[in-house]
């Protein structure tokens, strides 16, 4: 083909490897997600708490500020595992809000426009397609979770007058692991639920409902049957408990739930597996033109 001649010519140039096509899915997915102004607004809102946390770290390491705050300052301005647990928890729920907005934009539009037959007729598999979308969502959520968490940790390590980072490496590792588990889970859950709902706004609600409704049911089970196992349906409680353990913090959650780590991990793994099954079923059903 040639624009000025309007004739067809075959392509004889080089061809990219498969991984480049997965990245193309991710790149175009990201562009689609960020084409909405609300995404930018939401992203900025997600970063607002970090400014507060950053300021807190600054104040805690500023002798003048500590002096001004007196006894209250020494209680409030302690930078330890509990502080970073607050950072992680806050950012994780911010990521949840961002995921519930972005995930439907990544996958619902393709399904509504019936784009899968044309997308998957190219040399990319169902797995490659989902992986591309997953990478796009995971990358976005990373920018509001473990990346700023680790940056705050690095700042505290840098600004602290005493050697701090080396003796608190477990906090950094815990934040990284906890955030990655959380965003891996909500990315999969978000994509799976979005693939089953036609309208984006409804999909956003469904993602929240999928977290909160089982949590309510779990609380009822726990209350009525007086068993801790009801908390296995409560994703927020399970994650808080897991984060406590990863950061080495004795949180109040553990006393209430006392769920074994293996049970929490198994439940999270089951949720991921269920999400994968849902995604596979939906995409497989829509990949060909029926006729």
């Amino acid at each position: 083909m040639s624009i000025y001649k309007h004739t067809y010519r075959a392509y004889t140039g080089k061809v990219t490897p498969i991984r480049a096509r997965i990245l193309a899915i991710a790149r175009y997915g990201l562009a689609e997600a960020w084409s909405a102004k609300f995404t930018t607004v939401l992203f900025v809102i997600c970063l607002v708490p970090l400014v507060g946390f950053l300021f807190t770290i600054y104040l805690s390491n500023n002798p003048a500020a500590r002096l001004l705050m007196g006894n209250a300052g020494s209680r409030v301005l302690i930078i330890d595992g509990s502080f970073f647990l607050k950072v992680l928890t806050t950012q994780s729920w911010m990521a949840m809000a961002l995921a519930s907005w972005i995930a439907p934009r990544l996958i619902t539009l393709d399904l509504v426009d019936n784009a899968l037959p044309i997308l998957l007729s190219h040399p990319i598999s169902r797995f490659g397609y989902v992986l591309g979308k997953y990478v796009a969502l995971f990358a976005t959520l990373s920018t509001v979770t473990w990346v700023p968490c680790l940056l705050l940790f690095a700042y505290q390590g840098y600004i602290s007058p005493v050697p701090w980072a080396a003796s608190n490496v477990r906090i950094a590792f815990g934040m990284l692991t906890g955030a990655v588990i959380w965003i891996a889970l909500i990315s999969l859950l978000g994509l799976a639920l979005s693939s089953w709902v036609k309208w984006r706004i409804v999909a956003t609600g469904v993602i929240f409902a999928a977290i909160l409704v089982p949590a309510g049911v779990g609380a009822i089970v726990t209350g009525v049957l007086r068993t801790r196992w009801g908390f296995l349906l409560n994703l927020p409680v399970m994650m808080s408990s897991l984060w406590d353990r990863l950061l080495g913090v004795q949180g109040h959650m553990d006393h209430l739930t006392q769920l074994p780590t293996a049970a929490i991990v198994t439940m999270l793994a089951l949720t991921c597996c269920l999400s994968i099954v849902m995604l596979n079923a939906r995409i497989r059903a829509r990949e060909v033109v029926r006729g």
Partner: protein, 313 residues
């Protein structure tokens, strides 16, 4: 090696046999895929694209197994689905570029080819508009553009003229004819419209009830019928018919000077003109009857039961 090779291909979906023992080698530059609703056309296309696995037998494109080597095959195929299938929120050029990148073109080349493909199909002026604002005809054309952008070896067009007005249909047919003429792309065109296949294809595969009802080369089929002729004459028709019988032609006379005849192989039309001239008979009209695709299709539908399962050209 044929473009598409089917060897006792059987595809079962949901416990039902959709394609049943298809065998044949398709070698044409442009292959038409015909059949009534439910004949298995879409299933065959999906099988060729590697979406369905053969329950038994094999299907090959350019010698590669359609399921096992589907990634390799898909990089050499351009597919234009029947229904609306696009990302409506993207501009035309961005959509075609995305599809070209998925087919394996580097980003810069994909952009260049996207512009070229859109100009080629006639969407150059609207390439920055969002796809969901396109008319039905434009949507058909952008599906063709994305199928062409990466320079495929085989172009699979599923109902390419579906829903098009006569002018848009003519444009689409012209494009397909140009692509065929260019020669580097093989075409597989599925259509309900016999006329579309007739105008664009040189070989046709007719399916009925998941089986091959006919597989024939349209041109050869027509050539085999070239000896049928109809004449309209003025003058001594009876004497003229006697004379041409003398040449070895079978003929029948009808009122109004009409004669139908079958020419033997060694007799040419000029022999008829010579006899007519000698006998002062005017030949006002000479029509060489060609089997239309409709005749072939209807015959295939009627005689499908008598046909053997294995067909080879």
């Amino acid at each position: 090696m044929g473009t598409i090779e089917l060897d006792a291909l059987e595809v079962r979906l949901g416990g039902r046999t959709i394609l049943n023992g298809l065998s044949g080698v398709l070698r044409g530059q442009a292959i038409g895929l015909l059949g009534p609703n439910g004949a298995g056309k879409s299933t065959l296309i999906n099988t060729l694209l590697g979406f369905h696995r053969a329950s038994s037998g094999t299907a090959r494109i350019f010698g590669l197994d359609t399921y096992r080597d589907r990634a390799q095959i898909r990089s050499g195929i351009g597919y234009m689905p029947e229904n609306d299938s696009f990302i409506g929120n993207m501009s035309g050029v961005r959509f075609v570029r995305f599809m070209a990148e998925l087919a394996g073109l580097p980003s810069a080349e994909a952009l260049e080819r996207a512009h070229e493909a859109l100009f080629y199909v006639g969407l150059g002026e609207v390439r920055y508009r969002k796809v969901n604002s396109y008319s039905l005809g434009m949507k058909q054309l952008i599906k063709l553009a994305q199928a062409l952008a990466h320079g495929p070896r085989l172009l699979i067009l599923d109902e390419p003229t579906n829903g098009l007005d006569p002018i848009a249909r003519q444009r689409m047919i012209q494009l397909i004819q140009e692509i065929r003429k260019e020669g580097s792309v093989r075409l597989l065109i599925s259509s309900h419209l016999l006329r579309d296949i007739d105008e664009t294809c040189d070989e046709v595969l007719i399916l009925k009830g998941g089986r091959i009802a006919d597989l024939c080369n349209i041109e050869e089929e027509r050539r085999s019928n070239r000896s049928f002729m109809e004449l309209e004459t003025v003058g001594a028709t009876e004497t003229f018919s006697v004379s041409i019988r003398g040449l070895g032609c079978e003929c029948a006379c009808f009122p109004g000077g009409r004669i139908k005849l079958v020419l033997p192989e060694h007799i040419e039309a000029r022999d008829l003109y010579r006899i007519a001239s000698e006998q002062k008979v005017q030949i006002r009209r000479m029509h060489v009857r060609r089997d239309s695709l409709e005749d072939i299709f209807l015959r295939a539908m009627d005689s499908e039961g008598e046909r053997s399962a294995h067909v080879h050209l």
